[in-house]
Amino acid sequence: MRDTLITVLFLSALIISFSCQKKDQSRPTGDITILSLIATLNPVKAWDTTLITVTATGSNLQYGWEADHGSIVGSGQVVKYAAGECCVGLNTITCRVFNDTGEVSDTIKIRVTSYFWP
C-alpha cells in the first residue's frame, strides 16, 4: 500500500511538473510614460558593451532591468549591456519603470555578433 502511494505521488509530481510554466506578471501602469529606450551600439560584438538609456516621465521613478541573454552592468536610468559568445543572436532587454502608483515596461532588441566573426 505504501509502495503504491509513493509511486502515485512520484508520478503525480512528474505530471504536475510537465504542466507548469513560468509566467511573467506585471502591475498596471500609473502616470508613467516611457519616451525612449535606446542603445548607443547595436549590433554589438560579444563581450563589447553598449550603453542603454531609458527616458521616462513620472515622479519618483525607479528602474528595473532584465536581459534574456547576457548581463546588465550597473543600475538606474543608464546601464551597460554585455554578452558573451553564448549569447550570440537577437537578445531582448526589458526595462521596467515604476513608482508607487504603478509601472510600465518596454523592450529593446540588441543583436550580439560573434567574437570571432563580427
Binding site: 512520484f10 512528474l14 510537465f18 563581450w47 532591468w65 532584465e66 553564448c86
Partner: protein
C-alpha cells in the same frame, strides 16, 4: 585477477555503450545544482535511512575554445561557488529506495576584471529520485540499481540586485524541470575491492516565459569507480567520469553554438567510517580533458566534503528486542 580484468572491461563497455549517439555538445550557462559525484549511488536495503550533508566549493577561471585554453580575451573572469546539499534516502522496501536532495548556494559568484561582481545565493533545485534494486546477489557481491528522478526548480531563478536581474550563470536554480534516468552497476571482489559503473541521462524541460525561452542541452554522465578498502574503516575510491551536454537552444529553433561540452573528470575520494554508522567523505573533481563548442568558460576544480549518518531500523529494532529480552530475563 583475470576475473577482475574481465569485469573491468564489461563495465568499460557498459560505460562506452552510453555514448553510441555520436558527438555531444553542451552549454555555457550552467545553473542549478551541480552533479554530486561521490560513489554512493546504489539503492539501499529495506528500512535503511541515510542522511547526508554536503559542502562543495567550485572554482573556474579558464575559457576554452574546443579542446584548448583561450587566453586572448581582453579581460579575466573567475566563477566560484560555495554550495551545500542535504540528501535523504530511505529504503522503502528491499527493491525500492526513495531519495530526495535539496541544494543551497551560499554564494555563486562571477568576477570579471574592470566590471562589477555578480553574486547570487539561495535555494537551488529539489531532487526526487526512486532507485530500484533490480538485481542483487549478496554472495556474488553484484547489484544493478536503475533509478528515475525529477528535479524541481524550487529555488531562486529571478534574483535581482538594485532591480537588475542577475545573469543566468549566477542564478541558484536552473529554472527548469529536469527528468533523469540512471543505472548503477556494482561488483565486489573479495572483501576489499569493488568496481562499479554509473550512467545517467538528464532531460531539461524548456523554460518559457514572456521574455525568455531557453532549453538546456541534454546531459549524459558515465562513470567508472574503483574502490579499495585500505583499512577497516578507510576507503579509497578512484573515479573517471565523462559529462557531456548537447547544445542548448533558445527560442524554438535557434541552437546556441557556444554551448555544449564534453569533460572527463578524475575524482579521487576517501571515506572514513566512524562509530555509530557515521561516515566522512572528501573528494575532488579534477577535469583531465575538456572539449567545448566555440568559446566558453570551462569547468575548474571542485572540492567536496560530505558527512553521512546511516540508520538501519531493522537492526535497531532487533537490538531493542534483544535488550527487552535481557531485561525480562
Amino acid at each position: 585477477m583475470k576475473t577482475l580484468i574481465s569485469y573491468f572491461f564489461v563495465l568499460m563497455l557498459f560505460v562506452m555503450s552510453l555514448y553510441g549517439h555520436g558527438k555531444l555538445f553542451a552549454q555555457c550557462c550552467t545553473s542549478g545544482n551541480p552533479f554530486i559525484s561521490d560513489a554512493e549511488q546504489p539503492a539501499l536495503q529495506s528500512k535503511v535511512l541515510t542522511a547526508s550533508l554536503l559542502y562543495r566549493y567550485n572554482d573556474s577561471h579558464q575559457y576554452y575554445y574546443n579542446d584548448s585554453r583561450y587566453n586572448d580575451l581582453p579581460f579575466t573572469q573567475r566563477s566560484f561557488s560555495n554550495y551545500m546539499e542535504m540528501q535523504l534516502a530511505y529504503g522503502i522496501t528491499g527493491w525500492m529506495t526513495v531519495q530526495t536532495d535539496l541544494g543551497y548556494f551560499i554564494n555563486k559568484t562571477q568576477k570579471t576584471s574592470n566590471q562589477q561582481t555578480y553574486r547570487g545565493n539561495g535555494l537551488g533545485d529539489l531532487g526526487l529520485q526512486l532507485k530500484f534494486n533490480a538485481w542483487h546477489n549478496t554472495k556474488a557481491r553484484f547489484s544493478v540499481s536503475p533509478a528515475i528522478g525529477v528535479k524541481f526548480p524550487v529555488g531562486v531563478f529571478d534574483q535581482e540586485v538594485d532591480h537588475v536581474k542577475l545573469p543566468i550563470a549566477v542564478q541558484p536554480s536552473s529554472g527548469s524541470f529536469k527528468y533523469n534516468g540512471s543505472v548503477f552497476v556494482y561488483k565486489g571482489f573479495g572483501k576489499k575491492l569493488s568496481l562499479a559503473a554509473y550512467g545517467s541521462y538528464e532531460y531539461s524541460q524548456r523554460i518559457e516565459s514572456e521574455n525568455f525561452c531557453y532549453k538546456y542541452g541534454d546531459l549524459w554522465i558515465a562513470a567508472i569507480y574503483f574502490n579499495y578498502q585500505a583499512w577497516k574503516s578507510f576507503n579509497i575510491n578512484l573515479q573517471f567520469r565523462n559529462e557531456s551536454r548537447y547544445k542548448a537552444s533558445r527560442g524554438y529553433y535557434e541552437t546556441v553554438n557556444a554551448s555544449g561540452y564534453e569533460v572527463v573528470f578524475f575524482t579521487p575520494q576517501v571515506t572514513v567510517s566512524l562509530p555509530r554508522n557515521w561516515y566522512l567523505s572528501a573528494y575532488a573533481d579534477i577535469p583531465v580533458y575538456k572539449y567545448y563548442n566555440d568559446l566558453q568558460m570551462s569547468f575548474g576544480y571542485a572540492l567536496s566534503f560530505k558527512v553521512t549518518r546511516k540508520i538501519d531500523f531493522i537492526a535497531l529494532k532487533a537490538r531493542h528486542s534483544a535488550n527487552q529480552s535481557n531485561i525480562a530475563e
